[in-house]
C-alpha cells in the first residue's frame, strides 16, 4: 500500500507530507525553546544580580561561526542533490557532520572548564539556565548528527531507488538543522553577551 503525497505534491496544498510534518515539528520546538527563554527572562528579572562575562565570548563566537558555516554546507548538500551532483552532496553533508562535531568538542571544553571551577548548574540561576539551554540545544545537535550519519551511511541507498524522496529527506534534515542554528543565534547573545 502506498501513502499518497509521500514524494509527489498534493495539488491543492502544494505540499508533500514530510514538508508539513517537519514544519509542524519545528513549530513545537519553537514553543519548547520559547518556554525556556521565557524562564530565562523571569529568572533574570527576579535576580538580585546577574553575572556578566562569566562565559568565554571567544569560544561562544567560534561556535557561532561553526554553526553558521554548517548551515551553509547543509543547504549546499541539498542544493547539490538538486543539481544532480552526488559527489558534492557527499562532501557537503560530511562537512556539516564534522562541523557539528567540532561544535560539540568546543562545548565540551567550555563545560569542563566550568565544572573544573566547581561552577555547575547548582551554582546560580544563571548557570542553571545556561546549562539547561545549551544542554538541550546540544542534544538537538546530537540528534541532527544521528540523522546525518544515517544519510551518510545506510540511508544513502535511497538516492538510487528514489532520488526525489532522498532529496526531500535531506531538505527536511536541513530545515531542522537550520532551526538548531537559529536557536543558537539567539542563545549566543542572550547567554554570552548580555
Amino acid at each position: 500500500m502506498n501513502i499518497p503525497y509521500t514524494v509527489e505534491i498534493r495539488p491543492d496544498t502544494g505540499l508533500a507530507n514530510g514538508k508539513l510534518g517537519i514544519w509542524l515539528f519545528l513549530a513545537s520546538e519553537v514553543m519548547l525553546f520559547g518556554a525556556l527563554f521565557s524562564t530565562y527572562i523571569i529568572l533574570r528579572n527576579g535576580a538580585a544580580e546577574w553575572p556578566h562575562g562569566e562565559l568565554s565570548v571567544p569560544l561562544g563566537a567560534i561556535n557561532t561561526v561553526i554553526l553558521i558555516s554548517s548551515s551553509v554546507t547543509m543547504v549546499m548538500a541539498w542544493a547539490s542533490l538538486k543539481m544532480n551532483d552526488w559527489a558534492k552532496h557527499r562532501l557537503y553533508l560530511i562537512a556539516t557532520f564534522v562541523l557539528a562535531a567540532l561544535f560539540l568538542v568546543n562545548k565540551y571544553f567550555e563545560y569542563s572548564d566550568h565544572l573544573a571551577k566547581g561552577e555547575g548548574p547548582w551554582h546560580s540561576t544563571f548557570l542553571a539556565i545556561y546549562f539547561t539551554l545549551t544542554g538541550l540545544h546540544g542534544l538537538h545537535i546530537v540528534g541532527g548528527m544521528i540523522v546525518m550519519a544515517y544519510f551518510i551511511g545506510p540511508g544513502a541507498k535511497l538516492w538510487r531507488a528514489n532520488a526525489d524522496q532522498f532529496a526531500n529527506r535531506i531538505e527536511y534534515t536541513g530545515l531542522y538543522w537550520h532551526f538548531v542554528d537559529l536557536v543558537w543565534i539567539f542563545l549566543f547573545p542572550v547567554l554570552y553577551l548580555l
Binding site: 501513502i3 509521500t6 513549530a27 513545537s28 538580585a48
Partner: protein
C-alpha cells in the same frame, strides 16, 4: 513511511489479499498485531491500553474513597495486600493516599482519556472518515504508541520504587514537587507521554490536511475530524512548554538547580541547601499553559464523537454545523489565553485576574454554542435510542453541568472561595467523567462494529448505561455540596478542618458506595466487550445506516482501508433529505440522475 509498492493509485486495499500479489505485505504475527504500522491496529492498541489505564486509575480512586468514607479503618479485601510501606495492617498511610491521588489524576488524564480519545478514536476513525489509506506517517504512528506504552510502564513501575510513586498531585506544584519522593520517575514518564502526543499530533494534522479524499472539502468534513484537528494543534503547541517545565523540574531534582525554589526555603525547620532565586509560580504558568488547553484536549474529541452519534440517531443533519466548526476553532484558539484562571489564588493582582476572567467568560461562549447546537439537533427528531445514543444523550446535560459550574470558578471573586475545594473536583469531573468518558463509551459502542464486524449487545449496553449514570451522579453531585460547605480537596483526613465540615461528611459514605457501585457497573461493559468480539451480531458495512466515509469500508477494513478509491459527493450529515429514497444519503454515494 514508504512501503514502496508499484501501485500508484491513491487508495486501494484488499480485505483478503491474494498472497502472491503482495508477498512483501504478508507480515508475521508480531508485525501484524504488536509492532503494526496500520492505523487501525495502532488505534485499537491505544484504545485498549487506554481503557485498561482508565480501569486501573479508577481502582486507585476506589481505594481512596474508602479512606474518605471511613478514615483510619482497615481497607477490606485488598488492604492486607498493599504492604507495610503503604497500608500497615490495612490502614492507609497519608503518603500512600497522596500517591494514589497524584497517580489517579495523572493516569486518568494523560494515560487514560487522551490516549483513548485521541490515540484510539483519532487513529482508528480519522483516516477512515477522510478516506485515507492510512496515516501520513505510519512508522511515526507506531513510535507514538510505543512512546506512550513506555511512559505508561514507567509510571506504573514508579509505585514500586523506594518512597513510592509521585505524591504531589497531578499538577506537581513546586516547591513540594521539587523535594518530595517519587517525582523524578513521574517526570521521566511524562517526557515519554509528551513525546508520544507530539508525534501523534503532527501525524493527525498532516493526515487531515494532506490525505483527504477527492471531493472532501473542509466544510464537508465530519465534525469529529474538526474536533481532532483542533485537538492536535492544542497538543502540538501547548505540550512543549510542559516538556520544558518537566526538564526544569528534573534539573531541580537531579542537578541541584533552583528554577522553582525561592531563596530562604526552610523545610522541617532546616534551611534548604540550594542556591535559590527561583520562582515556584513559574511552574504554575508553564503547567497551566499546557493544562488548560489539555482540558479541551479531553473534551473536544468527545464532542466530536457525540456529534456523529447524534446526527446518526436523530436521522437529521446537525443543527448549525458551520457554527459548530467555527466554535471549535475559536475554542482552540482561546484556550491558550485563559490558563491563569487556575491561579487566582497565587497572589496574582487584579489586572491579571480581570484579564483572565474575561477571556474565561469569552471561551465559554463557543462551548455553549456547540452544546446548544447539539440540543437543538434533537428537536423534532424521531430518535433511535441505541446504546451509543444513550451515552451521547447523557453527555449533553452532564457536560452542561460541568461547564456551568465552571463559570463561578472563572470569576475571581467567587473562585477565591471555591478554589481547592471539592467544588472544583465536582466541576471538572462532570466535564471529564460523565461528560468525556460517557462520550468515549458512546464511541466504543458506535464504532465497535466497524472494528470487529460485530455489534455489542444492547441489553448489556443499556444496563451499563443506566447503572453508570445513576452511580456517577451520586459520586459527583455531592461534591458540589461538600465544596460549597468549604471542604478542601486533597485531604487524607480533614483533621481539625473536619469539625467545620461535619454537616456534609456523611456524603463521603454515599460517594464511597456509589463509586464502588460504579466499579461494578463496568462489569457489564467488560463482559459485553469480550462476548461481542466472539458472539456479537455480525453486521455488514453500514449497520447504523450512517453517512460518513468510514461506513463505506468493509467491517473490519483491510490493510489500506477502502476497496475502491473513495470519492465524496456531499456534506457529512445528509439525513432525511427530502425526495431521497432512504433517510440517509451517504457522502460516498453519487447523486442518482
Amino acid at each position: 513511511m514508504d512501503n514502496v509498492s508499484s501501485h500508484g493509485t491513491t487508495a486501494h486495499g484488499h480485505v483478503h489479499e491474494p498472497p502472491h500479489e503482495h508477498a512483501h505485505e504478508e507480515l508475521g504475527w508480531w508485525r501484524k498485531y504488536v509492532f503494526s504500522v496500520d492505523h487501525k491496529v495502532i488505534g485499537i492498541q491505544y484504545a485498549i491500553t487506554g481503557l485498561l489505564f482508565l480501569l486501573f486509575g479508577f481502582c486507585l480512586m476506589m481505594i481512596m474513597r474508602w479512606q474518605l468514607a471511613y478514615p483510619g479503618r482497615p481497607i477490606p479485601l485488598i488492604g492486607q495486600w498493599l504492604g507495610q510501606a503503604r497500608a500497615p495492617m490495612g490502614i492507609m498511610l497519608p503518603e500512600f493516599y497522596n500517591q494514589l491521588g497524584a497517580m489517579h489524576g495523572t493516569i486518568m488524564v494523560f494515560m487514560g482519556v487522551v490516549p483513548l480519545a485521541v490515540g484510539g478514536f483519532g487513529n482508528f476513525v480519522l483516516p477512515l472518515q477522510i478516506g485515507a489509506p492510512d496515516m501520513a506517517f505510519p512508522k511515526i504512528n507506531m513510535a507514538s504508541y510505543w512512546a506512550y506504552f513506555l511512559g505508561g510502564v514507567t509510571m506504573l513501575l514508579s509505585f514500586f520504587q523506594r518512597g513510592g510513586a509521585a505524591q504531589s498531585g497531578w499538577t506537581s506544584y513546586p516547591p513540594l514537587a521539587d523535594i518530595a519522593d517519587g517525582q523524578t520517575v513521574w517526570l521521566i514518564g511524562m517526557v515519554f507521554l509528551i513525546t508520544s502526543s507530539l508525534l501523534g499530533s503532527i501525524n493527525f494534522i498532516v493526515t487531515t490536511v494532506q490525505l483527504r479524499a477527492k471531493g472532501l472539502s473542509w466544510m464537508r468534513l465530519p465534525f469529529f475530524v474538526w474536533a481532532q484537528l483542533v485537538t492536535s494543534f492544542l497538543l502540538l503547541l501547548a505540550f512543549p512548554p510542559l516538556e520544558a517545565a518537566a526538564v526544569l523540574q528534573l534539573m531541580d531534582r537531579l542537578a541541584g538547580t533552583s528554577f522553582f525554589l525561592p531563596s530562604g526555603l526552610v523545610i522541617s525547620g532546616k534551611p534548604l541547601a540550594v542556591a535559590g532565586g527561583g520562582n515556584p509560580v513559574l511552574w504554575q504558568h508553564l503547567f497551566w499553559f499546557l493544562a488548560h488547553p489539555e482540558v479541551y484536549v479531553l473534551i473536544l474529541p468527545a464532542m466530536g464523537i457525540v456529534s456523529e452519534i447524534i446526527a446518526n440517531n436523530t436521522r437529521k443533519p446537525l443543527w448549525g454545523y458551520k457554527a459548530m466548526v467555527y466554535s471549535v476553532v475559536f475554542i482552540g484558539f482561546m484556550s491558550f489565553v485563559v490558563w491563569a484562571h487556575h491561579m487566582f489564588m497565587t497572589g496574582m493582582g487584579t489586572t491579571m485576574s480581570a484579564f483572565f476572567q474575561t477571556t474565561t467568560m469569552i471561551i465559554s461562549i463557543p462551548s455553549v454554542v456547540i452544546l446548544t447546537a447539539l440540543l437543538l439537533s434533537l428537536w423534532g427528531a424521531s430518535i433511535r435510542f441505541t446504546t451509543p445514543m444513550l451515552f451521547a444523550l447523557a453527555f449533553l446535560p452532564m457536560f452542561g453541568i460541568g461547564g456551568l459550574t465552571g463559570l463561578p470558578l472563572g470569576l475571581a471573586p467567587s473562585d477565591i472561595h471555591l478554589h481547592d475545594t471539592y467544588y472544583v473536583i465536582g466541576h471538572f469531573h462532570y466535564v471529564v467523567a460523565p461528560g468525556t468518558i460517557f462520550g468515549l463509551f458512546a464511541g466504543v459502542y458506535y464504532w465497535f462494529p466497524k472494528a470487529t464486524g460485530r455489534k455489542m449487545n444492547d441489553l448489556l449496553g443499556a444496563l451499563h448505561f443506566w447503572t453508570s449514570f445513576v452511580c456517577i451522579n451520586l459520586v459527583f453531585m455531592p461534591m458540589f455540596i461538600e465544596g460549597l460547605a468549604g471542604m478542601n480537596r486533597r485531604m487524607y483526613d480533614g483533621g481539625m478542618q473536619y469539625k467545620y465540615n461535619a454537616s456534609v461528611l456523611h456524603w463521603n459514605v454515599v460517594q464511597g458506595y456509589a463509586s464502588w457501585g460504579l466499579g461494578l457497573a463496568q462489569i457489564f461493559f467488560i463482559v459485553n466487550f469480550f462476548m461481542s468480539i466472539k458472539w456479537g451480531k455480525a453486521v455488514d458495512r453500514n449497520p447504523w445506516e450512517a453517512t460518513t466515509l468510514e461506513w463505506s469500508a468493509p467491517s473490519p477494513p483491510g490493510h489500506g482501508n477502502f476497496l475502491t478509491e473513495p470519492i465524496v459527493y456531499r456534506g457529512p450529515y445528509e439525513y432525511s433529505v427530502p425526495g431521497a429514497a432512504r433517510d440517509f444519503s451517504p457522502q460516498f454515494e453519487p447523486e442518482k440522475a
